[in-house]
């Protein structure tokens, strides 16, 4: 049996990779994708703890899985909105380079 630690290490790695992508990539679509990776890291955590519940207490608790399902649904909606924003940004500035979209500043 794969113990909880492995799942947590996997999700930490995914979160770190996602965060790295969010912070470094210039392309807004890649940034969006990195956010998805971070979300999935969280989902893995939720599911992992849900199954860990049995190990810990001997009973089943599906709430973690339910949360993961909600999270996936919301992530889908979020991507739709995020892509729509990117589309508008592209129409307005002819670029989706996040370094160049910086007019909201001093």
């Amino acid at each position: 049996m794969i113990t909880i630690e492995y799942w947590l290490i996997l999700s930490s790695l995914l979160l770190a990779i996602g965060a790295y992508g969010v912070l470094t990539r210039k392309n807004a679509i890649v940034v969006l994708m990195s956010i998805e990776i971070m979300l999935n890291a969280a989902n893995i955590n939720l599911v992992a703890f849900s199954s860990f519940h049995v190990t810990l207490h001997g009973t089943r608790d599906p709430s973690g899985m339910v949360f993961a399902l909600f999270s996936i649904a919301i992530a889908a909606a979020e991507v739709a909105v995020g892509l729509a924003i990117l589309l508008s940004v592209y129409r307005r500035y002819k670029t989706i380079d996040v370094d160049k979209i910086n007019i909201l500043r001093w």
Partner: protein, 657 residues
Amino acid sequence: MNILEWAWLIPVFPFLAFILISLLPKKGLWWEDGGGYAIAGAGGALALSVWVIWEVLNGHTLTVGAPTFDWLVIAGFKITFGIWIDQLTAVMLLVVSIVGTLVVVYSGGYMHEEAERRRRYYAEIMLFISVMYGLVIASNYLEMFIFWELVGLCSYLLIGFWYERPAAASAAKRAFIVTRVGDIMFMAGIIIIFKYVGSFDFGTLFANNAAATTAAMPKDMLTLATALIFGGAIGKSAQFPLHEWLPDAMEGPTTVSALIHAATMVKAGVYLTARTYPLLIHSPESLLFVGIIGGITALLAATVALAANDIKRVLAYSTISQLGYMILGLGAGGYLVIHGGSEAGYAAATFHLMNHAFFKALLFLCAGSVIHSVGTNDMRLMGGLGRKMPITSITMLVGALAIAGIPPLSGFWSKDEVLSAVYGAGEFHFTFFILWAMGVATAFLTAFYMFRMWFLTFSGSARSEYHAHESPKIMTVPLMILTALALTSGAALFIGAGFKAFILGSLGSIPVEPETETLGEIASAVFTSPFTYLVLGLVIVGILSAYRIYYMHGFNRTIFAAGIPGKFQKALENRWYISKFYDDFALVVVYGFSKLADLFDRYVIDGVVNGVAYLGARTGGVIRKAQSGNVQRYASIVIIGIVIILFFLLYVLPGGA
């Protein structure tokens, strides 16, 4: 129904007139733009005052236990508005009601040419009369102080009646500011008393020979408080060194000078001092101070009056001088009360207050009649008016004789009483002998300058082109009434039980052993004292010298302009340089200090405020660069922040999270 309980209605009549005159549409003002309402208001107050005075004459007073109205109730104590009717109040009521009414009637002629402005004039004068009554019947110091300030306001408004004249505008401001110095002292005095005794009420403060007050206050504080309250009188009654506003106040209409600056408001200071007697007699130092200020003022103002060329200024200085007499009489009277238990000084001063109000109002209204006719105040441009204005010249002659102190006119009796009281007080403090000598000198000077004024105005030949005519009846009738009063008010000393026995009642619980002299003894005391003849002789010499110098031809007046007399005259014409001193003082010290304060404000206060703002702006300018608009930078800061927080929670804080 006790009419005294309704005495609070007295100020209500003129106040209603004030409201009506101020608010009615122009058509509703009927006679003289509100003059009709003014006469009605003053007349109503006069009628009620006379009724109240009649009751007081019959021995009824209303002091402690008078109906009051709670004005402010603050945990533990309350401030009330009440009335206080005793013999002293009655004397002031008599003065204010009679002079007030006559002046308002006289204004019907004097202010006739002012057209639309009469409405403002009548409104202000009604407000003045109303608050003056309020001051007179007030039953506690705070109430008195409120009305005290209000009469000051009315004085300011009326001095500045012709505000478009720079002289009038600045005189009004000067009067307001200079009297304010005294007002602040008055306020400080009553606050000190309140701090120790916890009450403003005359009833509480004065009861049982002011036992509660003297028990609650240390001797020094009582002296300080009474001296400060007298400071209010110095300002309001134009005593040295705050006397210079009164001559300037002559810029107002002559009726205002007669009513406010001769007969009533300036008497408020004397009234206040007399009212404070129960406290003053516990502080001989304050009384001595009162006497000295009075004596100096009397002599100083009389000397300046010698050289004044403006008819109203002569009268103004004469007013200051006579007020000094009253104050001197009160100061000396206090010593008499302390040492001899005699009311002589107090009675003399209040008697002089009453008589002076009548003859000085008369003199001012006569001067107004002259000015109305000639169109100038300058006596050098008058002369020879006696034939053209017979009524005015004769009534003014009576006024001048009264103030000079020729028997049997009113001034003779009261002046003699004041001087004999001051001489009597000399027995207890030698300073009063000096002050008595100053008073005698003042009597001589008074006779001289009054007749100088009369001769310059009415005798000889005209010194400029003018078309003088006698004033209309509405002005001469009040003159004649006042003449009758100036002739006869001295007789009050002998009417009924006599003025002295009458005024004694207002001393309340002060222990005095009234001089049990009959009226005949009073009269014989006057006519057997050598000092009476000394003063009378000096007065006659004064009148005769004025006659020789200003009436008879061939006197070379240029001798006054050269050598030592010339220097003297120059000093007098410049009012002993006191006015100039105040101007210079204001210019150098006050203006200099203001400039300093301005610089401090501009560079230090503003500097701090602007500096803080500048610092904020600059800091903002620097740190706003953090808002780069780069989303990834924000995100990295967030992540770094989370990492730091986690680090702290997990490793630094004891026990971990």
